[in-house]
Symmetry: D2
Subunit: 437 residues, 4 copies
């Protein structure tokens, strides 16, 4: 990702645009084949002084002008006339950004597939690892760690699908000339545009979009949502790693997650960095959205904002994905501790299950009332829910000792967890199958 | 939009969830048909004290608990046991929000179609209204007002498509019970879920999504991009309305856009308010994205953030759409002034056209050099580009007086403008056709 | 806060501006005393149709015009001429907002003082309540709950000081007339401005600031930082309330924090709502900052953005403060559980203390190495740090059994905690004293 | 600015902290003087492999651990024990950031003073350059360009004051050890802290602030407001540079602001880049505010977010300041064009002046009515306000031809412009005087 959005990565794609433009115009019969070949041959990033281009861009407001100067200087007189013909600098700049974004989305998808692959393993492997489900960070009812991983898997799979559709729909050629009318190469404008799109393997949009930025903004949003999903997973890892919870730990690597003062520390440092990267990514989305209000036929500020914002957004999202992947790949999962934690707070998280069990014999509202009293007194008296229930005649009147134990067994109160895991795994397999086609 | 996201609008959809849940459970054989009918009959917003529900929500953290209390109070004993069975408050809350968002998207689409309809009219009507194209707010090359309107049309049409796909893909049922396992109604969880989705005409997702918020976040993003597009159109209207430009003006309505101190003022007040609403909308997107990092099985803060943020986002985006629609619907377009403005600054915006004309006789780089010198001297000497060109032998040597005039005629340098307008109109018609199917 | 920023709260302050303007102009000899008295008498919010004003504001873009129409309709002919003289609607609108913000800051300060008062009590009362200090959510070294509360206290006290200075420096009169030149009441402009500022007890700024919005933006930022501080406190409460930590719980109120499905739940619902309100507040800050780029002498969108954004910012921040205050005021602090939690994970949080103890006899890097090995083996073998240390000759060679126990006693490793608590309490007392002066 | 926040700039300040810590501890008698001298001598950035430190930071989550490893490797055994004693990595990291921010604020202030100096010159030089004042981008009443520049000056001067107070109040030492209790060097914690603050010329705060981030957040906000002010100035320059307005132009430099396709273009490229940099800066503020909710005694994500966000914020704000300075420094101001633009739209911007003139003879509401009719008919009939007024008996009845001309002379309707310019210049001089003290 660093390479794709580096200065030389940008120059490379700008040159790819200029080369493709020359070839397309030759194919359209607008410029001589020889000139096109000569131009295309010189559109090689190795021949360019990238640092000088970036430096001059601060003066001209775009890297295209200094790049063209360097390109022209390398061309014979008879080819010079055919460089960048009919195009405006934003045609090159936007298309280059589109090409960078395409590579960027592919790189990101690779990392996200890596996250999915390991989440799918965790979901399968921990189908039976019962743990407390937590709402508002309070024990609620039992779940399995497999289900939690399946939910992560489901969310990332959905982002892969979204990013695929964004890649398909939002990455289109920019080619309109100075005012978006293709006037300088009339009447061949649309013909050249079509061939240029073909050369770059990009879709030809209905119209140039110099000042209508919904497409890059939609890409930015898709990355923002992806970063948000990654942030959620990382947050879960951080919370599960707490000393008091200790259900997972990031695997030890030499030097990783240690402390300058406390030798015992084992910080969830990949997850923590993923949280940070996620927030940095998310923070860029509104910058791109605000920049959409671009004036007339080309923005005076908004476009320049995107230039810096979008590469940063790809970088941050990519780092978030890599840190989440690293955190999950080497995750130590302590199923024993999960089981132990279920017993915390007197096993109160089985209260709902007890209500359900009672409700087969007594009216549901009454059952709820009984259990509410039981949990209240159990908390006050610091006894377990089981002990409190055993001592309550309203319970023992309708539930045998065995039935009561079953009602308070977390492993017996997992509902559709297994089926839900299957559904998430199937969605991931379906995605993989479809993507491989 | 105000009504949809009002407190009573929220209560109405919560009740719709509870009624549908009862019916679905009856159909699944989980609860008696009679009980379901009794419950559904009482799920009528008119029977509820909305203000009390909202007031108590601050205490309980959700309106669902106080709503259930009011509902239970209205039910006979034998139906009470079957209310909200197997559901958790977030099931009701999220599904209600989804239903509100569905109505909200429909209402927004109506306004956006209105924007498209008037933009399409402007595009058609002003195909020949030549005006300066402006980049960096500087005259660049000529365009037509029809083309500008067509670009607006294209951008809004794309948002309509995006919102349609968001409506289809992102609005799904929430139903998972306390921990997302459907344990309280095992083994009927998924069966009830399927029927419940059917009752509400919602898609059944692979899994509950209490703490995976990519779907509402994607809706928020789609609205943010839409608000951004509307902000762009409003910005153009504000800029075109400037005293010095005066190419459009918002139509006069009694009292509209006047000033407390300056009787001559005719402020583009709808456009200005659209700009403000657009920014307010965009500002909410990151709030929703940040809120995605929800803890474990239910968030402690993020979910509550969405509750307020998403309704505000719909309200602001809706206001932006309505103000843009109002601004465009009554827009006074001054094609004469557009034509006059083309002559500003000595007609310098025809410089590129002159290069193209010269380049048919002399080498393109040389032509560019000639025109750069001409524009420079014309600006210095405060003469028009035509006068400067007429006095330059390099020009007159290759261009006849007639050819020169043609080269400097804005109406003759519009490139593919007409074809681009057609493409935008076709996309809008195609959308309408598809949407009507 | 709701009242201050309600429509009628706004109208009230607009009328206060108009009344003060009339009085100031009378004092400056610009208008007759009688007219001023008549005008001022009618500037009573009870006499106005607030709903109509707000409705018409959507048309005119500001509530000032419809308000003036209602005011004029109530005045005799001879007073009418002197209403709003020399002022522009933004003079009234901005000054009204300044007055609302002044009241808003006062209301917010009251809530923040409430937070401080209870945090100070907690700091004092829990000086000796030893608990785990946590970094990266991992046990680090012992602290006291008093120190944690003192840090909360310190942060909120600092915000009170900042808000005081913002109130003093940023809330200034707006009065400049249509273009900020005071031309319509020349040559009395500055004289009237000075008297008007006096009437409203506001500072007279060097210049009108219609399009220079650094002052409202600074107020917004101060609220954003305050909301951030409140969010930090609320986050701590949520985390300490976790079932596995259980060191605090929000006090029970009828119906508060309960669940629709789980009778045992005791959710930290005030803290959760404070987290949400904090994020909503913070999300508005960039909206106000983006809106600063206001065009020329009056903005076309930015000013209108502020109008809605700033009231919302006050509302959200106020709610955050009230929820934090409520959460802390009724906080159940379980010092016993804190003590118990210190022993979690084998008392590993005393590792640094053991290094310090060993370092008085052996070289520090060596001591760190020894303790790193001890914690490693203790974790692997699931024994306590004390047991591991007792079995290590390198330790027993230099530390007696008593010295070792002391080195592993959390209560003996609190460093400057007491002095730091004192410093926070002193800062709070100093603030209170200064504020009372 | 790039250097201050470069990796080596960071390492340099981290080493400065470690050296100062050793010296402070020697002065406090906690470590031997010789050891301190040896450590301090090795704390030289030239001796460190910065790239390796930054690379390893991704693994450890902070650059402090790898830096310490390199430092220890360079020290003799007897000094090693005294490195980083009692400190935690965040003590070093935060203090280094504070030192970077101090340098960053100084560098920014230099640029802002440059902006002020040139704005003050423009204010003085263009006291009499009458131009249209514009509200909602519509001509309102006349102002002078000097007044506009004075408003820019006033706003930037205020930011200089704010940044000074931020520098004084918000940049404080971080020193608390692993849990913020200074336990590892008890009982000398506060004594060492005081000397350490002295060594680094920083204020000693009441308490460590590892997880209370109001101070860095306040710095971020101050930069955000400054960026907002710069964005406003840049927006004005862009708008005044429009082809139709043409009242200013950015000075020509070789290659600057030219176009790849249009030889006549003279884009306001510094202003445009300032707009972009301003928005990028502003976009970071909420990221820092959101990151304030840091957990317990040290954040798990928020602190890491700041690390990247704050340097980026300084970079963007600095670029905004430099571009605004460049734009203003070489600004071509066309006072003649300003005067000409006053006549645009029939001189309607004198309407308010005419009301004032009439109101000395007829009742003000009546005068307003007359002028409203006049402007309406003038616009409809495309005549000037002067011509319309001359033909209206209600006007001629009370205003002589000379009085009418005066009432419609923009140069005679500038109100307190001159006095306001003086006030802004005085504030700037006062600031300079105070700052020089």
């Amino acid at each position: 990702m660093e390479r794709i959005f580096s200065p030389s990565g940008c120059v490379e794609q700008l040159l790819r645009f200029e080369a493709a433009l020359a070839r397309a115009q030759a194919r359209a019969g607008v410029i001589p084949n020889d000139a096109a070949a000569t131009i295309a041959a010189k559109c090689d990033v190795e021949l360019f002084d990238t640092a000088a281009i970036i430096h001059d861009a601060a003066l001209t407001g775009t890297p295209v002008m200094p790049l063209l100067r360097q390109l022209l200087a390398q061309l014979p007189n008879d080819a010079r006339a055919y460089v960048h013909m009919g195009a405006t600098s934003q045609d090159a700049g936007d298309t280059a950004l589109v090409l960078q974004m395409r590579d960027g989305l592919d790189a990101l998808a690779t990392d996200l597939r890596g996250v999915c692959a390991v989440a799918a393993q965790l979901a399968e492997r921990h189908r039976r690892s019962v743990m407390p489900g937590r709402t508002f960070l309070q024990h609620a009812v039992p779940i399995t760690f497999g289900l939690k991983a399946a939910r992560w898997l489901g969310a990332v799979t959905r982002q892969l699908r979204t990013l695929d559709s964004v890649r398909r729909d939002m990455l289109v050629l920019q080619f309109g000339g100075a005012g978006g009318t293709l006037a300088a190469i009339a009447p061949n404008g649309l013909a050249v545009a079509e061939l240029l799109a073909e050369e770059l393997n990009l879709t030809l949009p209905d119209m140039p979009w110099h000042a209508e930025r919904d497409r890059p903004a939609s890409v930015a949003c898709a990355l923002g949502v992806t970063a948000g999903v990654l942030g959620k997973i990382a947050t879960d890892v951080v919370l599960l790693s707490q000393t008091e919870v200790a259900e997972v730990a990031e695997g030890l690597t030499e030097g990783k997650g240690t402390s300058s003062s406390m030798p015992q520390k084992r910080n969830p440092i990949d997850a923590v960095q993923a949280v940070a990267a996620s927030r940095l990514a998310v923070g860029i989305v509104p910058v791109v959205l605000v920049a959409m209000a671009q004036e007339h036929e080309r923005g005076a500020g908004g476009w320049q904002t995107e230039w810096r914002a979008i590469p940063d957004l790809f970088r941050h999202t990519s780092r978030a994905a890599q840190h989440v992947r690293a955190a999950l790949s080497a995750l130590d999962v302590d199923a024993e501790r999960m089981r132990a934690n279920l017993g915390m707070a007197g096993g109160m998280l089985m209260a709902e299950s007890l209500v359900v069990a009672l409700a087969s014999s007594i009216a549901r509202p009454e059952a709820q009332q009984v259990v509410a009293e039981l949990t209240g007194s159990a908390i006050r008296n610091r006894v377990s829910l089981l002990d409190a229930a055993r001592a309550d005649k309203r319970v023992t009147a309708v539930l045998s000792s065995q039935a009561l134990e079953k009602a308070l067994d977390p492993a017996a109160y997992l509902g559709s967890s297994d089926a839900l895991i299957d559904r998430a795994l199937k969605a991931w397999r379906d995605y993989g199958a479809q993507a491989a086609r």
